[in-house]
Symmetry: C2
Subunit: 209 residues, 2 copies
């Protein structure tokens, strides 16, 4: 199994984290989002938008981080990231929180809509901040009813794997995170995990020559 | 079970369709997106963004259409919408296609980013078309490898439930759908289903007085 990824991409981190948590071996292939490599013919053959991550499974290319995590859950069910063994409402809460980031925050704050919106770097930054603040405000309200140690109860789930990399993006855009007290507690508990440390961006930062 | 929804909302249609396909009884409550009702305190207490749909289950409010479909699949597993019985790659393809619409198309073409982008109706329309064309182009390429009668093989799945309502939005924005030949075949097969006819927008259009 290969994972095409970029060290700072929040969606890439989700999948690296899932692989580390489930202790699945893979070959990581860095795709540079800044040099134009991600928009090369080679990479567009892997992903219609030229995005990362892409998972290569038996020669097939799979896009969408949540599809990769669904695949990993089926092939390596334990430890579960989708709430196996929880009741249907708790399992639905995991999807609700994951999609609050995956669908309603990350794609909106991403570079493509920023650049379609404006040529002005300040306007792009304001655009990204708007969607991140909106998304985290919703997440905080939703998770304050479901969180234990993690976003839903006391087990790590795909909701946490979406949330924490989004916080990394939030800091890059200088979003004030102080209003999000439940989120802060969840992040602290995540940062104690070995799978977090094995997957977080700085671990994959290209060495300066 | 109650479903707060709006007749033309594509995400609402996904959930109405899932309910009809699984033959689950529910009470539908219309929330008007045009009159300001969706941004009222009452509705913001149900959904942090003031969006529809919202599913009320035992007094709890659940947001995110894919979370509702996850819940319905757990409580009413048959007929499956998430590829029960298929191999892990096919199940992942269902998620990949669903998220290509749910995360990478619909939120970007939605009204909130349109209005944050521009006060000019023509610019808003161009914005929406851009994301719809990009999303459907990706979907066509991906589903051309997986489709049978429906997006993945010969069984209806959540991928189809995301795709077909997005086509309804595409027509509202006058997107040329002629390049998408696999998608056209899938839509035709969907339109033959009783659950499609029971859930499609015109069925829920408010009567003119």
């Amino acid at each position: 199994m290969k994972l095409y990824h970029y060290w700072r991409s929040s969606s890439s981190w989700r999948v690296r984290w899932a692989l580390a948590y489930k202790k699945v071996a893979y070959e990581g292939v860095a795709v540079d989002l800044l040099s134009g490599e991600s928009d090369s013919e080679t990479h567009l053959a892997r992903h219609p938008f030229g995005y990362v991550p892409v998972m290569e499974i038996e020669g097939q290319m799979l896009t969408e981080s949540l599809a990769m995590i669904r695949y990993l859950e089926d092939v390596h069910p334990k430890p579960s990231l989708l709430g196996e063994g929880l009741n249907p409402i708790a399992r639905a809460r995991i999807v609700e929180l994951a999609e609050t980031i995956n669908a309603d925050t990350q794609p909106l704050q991403n570079l493509d809509p920023q650049f379609l919106h404006s040529d002005d770097p300040e306007k792009r930054k304001a655009w990204a901040k708007h969607w991140i603040v909106r998304g985290l405000t919703a997440y905080e309200r939703l998770c304050s009813k479901t969180a234990g140690k993690f976003s839903v109860g006391d087990s790590l789930s795909v909701a946490d794997l979406c949330l924490v990399p989004q916080l990394y993006n939030a800091r890059r855009y200088e979003v004030d995170l102080s209003p999000y007290t439940t989120i802060a507690r969840i992040e602290k508990n995540c940062a104690d995990l070995e799978s977090y440390r094995a997957s977080e961006p700085s671990k994959f930062e290209p060495k300066k020559v």
